[in-house]
């Protein structure tokens, strides 16, 4: 059995690396539970989207080459993000149209790269997970995962296997939360309008926990909900699926250090 274990290179994503490493460990746990061997190449930083979406092709290509080299030889590359996985899977090959050998490598990497939850269900055929987490959750479909990779039913399917979890769908769960990478700081007022709409739908769902598969969107939505003083916990779906919710939810104080809600909800 051991010799057939698929070797996974975990693409941590820059936000998980910097902001919320527990999501990375949740991904490792889920992959190992499903019979994989997981390695984390150190020569990774980011998928290159900030440069790519700002029109900076040269830096994008340099970063993509770095990722291609770092993840050479793995059976699969898995990211706890639809957005970063899609960058590698759908956008890297197009960066090297004028360089056939690199393009071939980019295509090879693209074929091996997957978003975490859909990888579990669609490639590893994971049918169920176990988690002691309980509560009413609502799930936000992040744009790239949904529209570029078709991640929609997979997280709901696994969440539904948790006995303590009830999914309460919000309205417009598939509409952008307004994060959009640099968009949220380049166009803060429009982004605010979008995330305000999103926060209202989250609150109206009646769920006590908001889940999604992309940390950027989660930070945006958590930040808005907390600014408004809405008491919804916000977590990456992998944390719940891996039964790793011991860390405080996004934007919540470390355990034992209760936040002064009044002073935050300005």
């Amino acid at each position: 059995m051991a010799e057939t274990r698929p070797r996974i290179g975990l693409f941590v994503t820059c936000l998980v690396d910097l902001m919320r490493p527990s999501v990375g460990f949740a991904a490792v746990k889920l992959l190992e539970q499903a019979g994989c061997e997981v390695a984390v190449p150190r020569a990774q930083t980011c998928c290159g989207q900030p440069a790519y979406n700002s029109g900076d092709r040269a830096d994008t290509k340099a970063i993509a080459e770095q990722v291609i080299a770092a993840f050479d030889g793995f059976d699969y590359v898995v990211a706890p993000s639809g957005s970063c996985a899609s960058m590698i899977k759908k956008h890297y090959p197009g960066l090297f149209t004028d360089d056939p050998p690199l393009r071939a490598k980019a295509e090879d990497l693209a074929e091996r790269t997957f978003e975490l939850v859909s990888f579990l269900t669609d490639v590893l055929n994971v049918e169920a997970v176990e988690s002691s987490f309980s509560g009413a959750v609502t799930y936000h479909d992040s744009c790239s995962g949904l529209r570029e990779l078709g991640v929609e039913t997979q997280p709901r399917k696994l969440l539904n296997t948790l006995t303590g979890v009830e999914i309460r769908e919000m309205e417009e769960s598939n509409v952008c939360c307004g994060f959009g990478g640099t968009f949220c700081v380049k166009y803060p007022d429009i982004s605010n309008k979008m995330v305000t709409n999103k926060a209202a739908f989250v609150a109206a769902s009646g769920a006590d926990t908001l889940l999604a598969g992309d940390l950027g969107c989660l930070m945006n939505m958590a930040g808005k909900l907390q600014r408004q003083g809405v008491a919804v916990q916000v977590r990456h779906v992998a944390e719940v699926l891996a039964d790793m919710t011991h860390e405080p939810a996004i934007g919540q104080p470390a355990i034992g250090e209760a936040a002064d809600e009044e002073s935050i909800a300005s």
Binding site: M19, P21, I190, Q226
Partner: protein, 476 residues
């Protein structure tokens, strides 16, 4: 039309603060999205038709010179005349000359975005002509001296209360007690005002949804029938259309028609689909004596063969803006020129320059909803990104953005250095944010923290923790 696209951010801020507009914009979501989805679900072959439509346009664009020449031959054979206009200025001059040649005083118009693009009304009015918009939405905004805010629903930025107020203000004979609160009453009122104008008109101008090369036919789709009266009652009919409206034959046109109305309004077909070929023949009971087609280029031939060629497949259904969360937030006028929403974000820089319209392709989260609903499968986000690349190459992006990006990329391209610095920074940030779990303000994050809190990082980076784990160190 003078663009205000460089002021997009200011326009957007004003739009977000405009309560009346925000109320009207709710109608975009509720009026279009569900109806399109239902129309799509009712037609199992809808996605196949999208593929077929895309292929038809790709073939046509690859052979556009052939089809346009064939089209001109057929128009000439049927007794009409094609005028080739390279620029907006040429098109305006041609149309004015045709009007003057018949001593026209009153000109009626069907809805035409090309006429907006070339700012035709202002030009004709300056020359002393009385120009009457006959599409209800266009009629309303003409009264208000506004530009359309949507390509198929020009007055969608208005509530019906505003329209009622406009009618009561402008229609002097309208009794105060006549009810005008219902859409049907507003339509009836506009119809009554317009009826006489159709009969007075010397020239009728319409746009075109398709030009058919095989037959020299132009096709328009409308829901009010105003296009038919505009083009059949006056003695001269002028069609104003851009080059890419051409399709090879009637079957191609009808294939694309099957996705057009469904994508636009969720109707199976528009109420009126009108084919016109040449002027009135001897045996025809009615129709114009003259039939002219002004074919506008205005930058489109430059798009052929470029990374923006796919945009020329656009059939102006409006589905992209109907589904765009940015359009929902700010409406069409914020975009600052003729074409709003995602299609405008790609097309406008092509037509008026990225120097002028660079904000538009930047104001997108790349959520991809536009591409997902586009009946012609136009990769809109990809082309917005191409505009950002052009901007970046030409150093048009803001200096601070370039500097920040350069700083970040320097580290992102050096993983060891990146991990070391990130480790220090995140631990410091985590130490500051630990008690609250988040920040309500932080240096250099004003765009974020103006509207939302910023979560504190957990502490050590994943890479640090992973390295510790590998060497047998503790997790925390």
């Amino acid at each position: 039309m003078q663009s205000t696209s460089p002021a997009f951010k200011d326009n957007a801020r004003d739009a977000l603060a405009d309560q009346q507009l925000q109320k009207a914009l709710q109608n975009v979501k509720s009026g279009f999205i569900g109806k399109r989805a239902k129309a799509r679900d009712r037609l199992p072959e809808f996605d196949d038709l999208r593929d077929a439509s895309r292929d038809i346009k790709n073939h046509t664009l690859a052979n556009i010179d052939f089809y346009l020449e064939r089209y001109e031959e057929k128009v000439t054979e049927s007794g009409g005349q094609v005028h080739w206009a390279a620029t907006a200025e040429e098109a305006r001059a041609m149309i004015l000359k045709i009007c003057r040649d018949v001593d026209a005083r009153v000109v009626t118009k069907g809805k035409s975005m090309i006429s907006e693009e070339i700012a035709l009304n202002a030009h004709l009015e300056e020359a002393g002509l009385d120009v009457v918009e006959t599409d209800l939405g266009e009629y309303i905004i003409q009264l208000r001296k506004e530009a359309p805010s949507h390509i198929i629903a020009p007055a969608v930025h208005l509530t019906k209360d505003q329209v009622e107020a406009d009618f009561r203000h402008h229609h002097k004979d309208l009794p105060d007690e006549r009810p005008l609160s219902e859409p049907t009453q507003l339509v009836a009122e506009a119809r009554q005002m317009l009826r006489q104008r159709y009969l007075e008109a010397d020239v009728g101008i319409t746009g075109a949804n398709f030009l058919v090369a095989e037959t020299g036919t132009s096709i328009i789709v409308t829901n009010e029938g105003n296009g038919d009266l505009t083009q059949t009652l006056p003695k001269v009919h002028i069609v104003i259309a851009s080059l890419e409206k051409i399709v090879p034959n009637l079957e191609d046109a009808t294939t694309i028609l099957r996705v057009l109305a469904r994508s636009a309004t969720g109707q199976e077909f528009s109420s009126y689909t009108t084919f016109s070929t040449g002027p009135r023949r001897a045996e025809d009971p009615d129709g114009p004596e003259q039939y002219h087609v002004v074919l506008l280029d205005n930058g489109r031939s430059e798009m052929l063969g470029s990374e923006f060629q796919d945009m020329l497949r656009c059939i102006r259904c409006g589905a992209c803006m109907n589904h765009c969360p940015v359009y929902h937030a700010v409406g069409g006028h914020a975009y600052g020129w003729v074409y709003p929403g995602p299609m405008g974000a790609v097309l406008t820089p092509s037509l008026i320059g990225v120097d002028e319209a660079g904000q538009l392709p930047n104001a997108s989260t790349f959520c991809g909803r536009c591409e997902a609903v586009c009946p012609m499968r136009i990769p809109l986000p990809k082309m917005m990104r191409h505009w950002r690349e052009r901007e970046f190459e030409r150093h048009l992006s803001p200096k601070a953005v370039r500097a920040g990006l350069g700083f970040w990329a320097f580290f992102a391209r050096r993983p060891e250095l990146y991990h070391r610095i990130a480790g220090w920074k995140m631990r410091a940030l985590a130490a500051f944010g630990r008690s609250k779990g988040r920040f309500d303000a932080l240096p250099f994050t004003g765009g974020w923290t103006k509207h939302r809190d910023f979560p504190a990082p957990q502490g050590k980076t994943f890479q640090q923790l992973w390295a510790e784990k590998q060497t047998g160190g503790g997790r925390r």
